[in-house]
């Protein structure tokens, strides 16, 4: 019994170490692979062979703006600065029940249409941004996997 308790404690400690510094959990759908990277803006990024990408990052905020503020800020930046079209918005929830907002953008470039999905979750002064994007065709192909991965994000 004593030995079992020790093993449990070690297991919990390993789990804690595995999630050290991350305030979210994300799952990888079949057909995606997680990219090992340290120097980019993303905390986690999974890529499909066809170029569809799902990524998560957490941004620490100094100010106490609310979720609609950041959703609007992202929307304006994408539209005014980068020429994206806001196709739709939707209220969503993370796997842990945290309310969020999803922005769906369309973008045409070099004769191709792209789809870009952004989910924003705000917990305290921490903004979790979940992004998914790729060509429109591939995003449609991978829509089930992308939906599953977006829904798998759990804030911790």
């Amino acid at each position: 019994m004593n030995r079992l308790a020790r093993l449990l404690a070690i297991g919990l400690a390993l789990l804690a170490l595995a999630g050290c510094g991350r305030h979210f959990q994300a799952s990888t759908a079949p057909g995606f692979v997680v990219v090992d990277e340290d120097s980019t803006a993303y905390d986690w990024r999974a890529v499909a062979p066809d170029g569809v990408v799902v990524a998560v990052r957490v941004v620490k905020l100094d100010d106490g703006a609310d979720l609609p503020f950041w959703a609007h800020a992202v929307s304006l930046r994408m539209r005014d600065e980068q020429g994206y079209a806001l196709v739709s918005t939707a209220d969503v929830r993370a796997r842990d029940g945290t309310p969020g907002q999803e922005l769906l953008f369309g973008h045409d470039e070099s004769g191709k249409s792209f789809t870009y999905r952004v989910r924003l979750y705000l917990v305290g002064k921490r903004l979790t941004i979940v992004e998914a994007g790729g060509t429109r065709d591939q995003m449609d192909r991978y829509s089930a996997s992308v939906d599953w991965m977006l829904a798998s994000v759990k804030l911790t």
Partner: protein
């Protein structure tokens, strides 16, 4: 009263008395004496040439006669002006106007020199027929004192355009500008000895402006400049991608310039007035000479033999050509004076540095989008 006193002083001086103020008398008297001598020389020169004309006429030498006649005509005009100046000198002397005395004396000196040149040219007429009408010039000394009959009747624009309007705002200093130059309200500069008793003839100034504007829409601004010209009773002279040149009636020059400058930010402006009086007067005199020569040739033609008539007609054709050339040139000058030119260069304004909205200063917002998302660095996968 002072004149009478000075006349008395001068009279005493003439009698050899030493009287205060006699220095002025001596100066004026010397000038008048010089003028009389010069006029005497001119009269003798004219008499010599007149004799040559008579002799050529007597010899029925049509070519020589035509050449002498040309020189005689110019000499007589010069002599007439010298006599006019002599009268002016006399009046100036009586009113003790030293500047006017100097100006008239100088004018007579120039006319005297010109008369000698004409006399010498006349002496070369025999065997040198090619030195003819086209090369004859009459030196202009004081445009404002020229024979008005010749000047106005033949070439002066009629009616004279009104003087250019004054401008409300002070402008960059233009030291050489005449008193009525736009953008200047400075008093007239001290008159030179040659114009001591005369105001500048502002009607013979050709105004032009060169303006560079920074505008926002070049095409529309070009149209606007063109519209200004039309509104002012002017016309478009030239137009290119970013430059336009318009011509407006001189009385509305400043008004048009003001309208043009409202179309953008003035980066550069240059307004100038070119005095074409000298050229205009010179051409007027040459035209007068040529016409008198033509008339004399026409009279000679009536009396000439068939052989001489051929030669005279040739000279007549030359004179007529000269008259037409001068008239054409005068027309150009009148046009330049009557219509002012405004050349406008337009430059597109520099892009505005004012944004339409503020940018949120959060770096992570700049990394949003498909570009960063899809740009996966080469590296190992877990």
């Amino acid at each position: 009263m002072r004149n009478r006193v000075m006349a008395g002083v001068c009279a005493l001086t003439l009698l050899g008395a030493s009287v205060p103020g006699s220095a002025w008398c001596a100066g004026a008297r010397e000038q008048e004496s010089f003028a009389d001598e010069a006029i005497g020389r001119m009269e003798r020169s004219a008499g010599d040439v007149r004799a040559l004309v008579t002799r050529a006429h007597h010899d029925r030498d049509g070519v020589a006669s035509a050449c002498y006649t040309t020189k005689l005509t110019a000499l007589e005009i010069t002599l007439r002006k010298a006599r006019d100046e002599r009268g002016t000198l006399r009046r100036a002397s009586l009113r003790e106007d030293q500047d006017a005395i100097s100006a008239s004396s100088a004018a007579i000196a120039v006319l005297d020199r010109r008369a000698r040149e004409l006399h010498d040219e006349a002496m070369q007429c025999v065997g040198h027929e090619e030195t003819f009408v086209g090369q004859t010039e009459t030196t202009v000394v004081q445009p404002n004192r020229l024979d008005e009959a010749i000047f106005n009747a033949d070439v002066a624009p009629s009616p004279s355009p009104p003087p250019p309007p004054s401008i409300a705002t002070p402008a960059p200093a233009q030291p050489a500008a005449p008193p009525s130059l736009p953008f200047s309200r400075t008093p007239a500069p001290a008159a030179s000895p040659y114009t001591a008793d005369a105001t500048h003839d502002a009607t013979m100034l050709a105004y032009s402006a060169d303006v560079t504007l920074a505008v926002y829409q070049v095409d529309k601004s070009l149209d606007a400049v063109e519209a200004v010209a039309a509104a002012m009773g002017g016309y478009l002279a030239q137009r290119s991608d970013a430059q336009v040149q318009i011509r407006v009636p001189r009385p509305r020059f400043l008004e048009a310039l003001g309208q043009v400058e409202k179309l953008g930010d003035v980066l550069h402006r240059n307004v100038s007035a070119e005095d074409v009086t000298d050229e205009f007067v010179d051409l007027g005199l040459r035209l007068g000479n040529a016409r008198e020569t033509r008339d004399r040739l026409a009279e000679l033609l009536k009396l000439a033999s068939v052989k001489d008539a051929v030669e005279i007609e040739k000279e007549l054709a030359k004179v007529t050509e000269v008259i037409e050339q001068i008239e054409g040139r005068l027309k150009v000058i009148r046009d330049r004076v009557g219509f002012s030119t405004i050349a406008v260069s337009l430059q597109a304004s520099a892009p505005s540095t004012v944004r339409t909205s503020a940018i949120l200063p959060f770096a992570w917002l700049d990394t949003m989008g498909l570009g960063p998302l899809l740009n996966v660095p080469k590296g190992g996968a877990r």
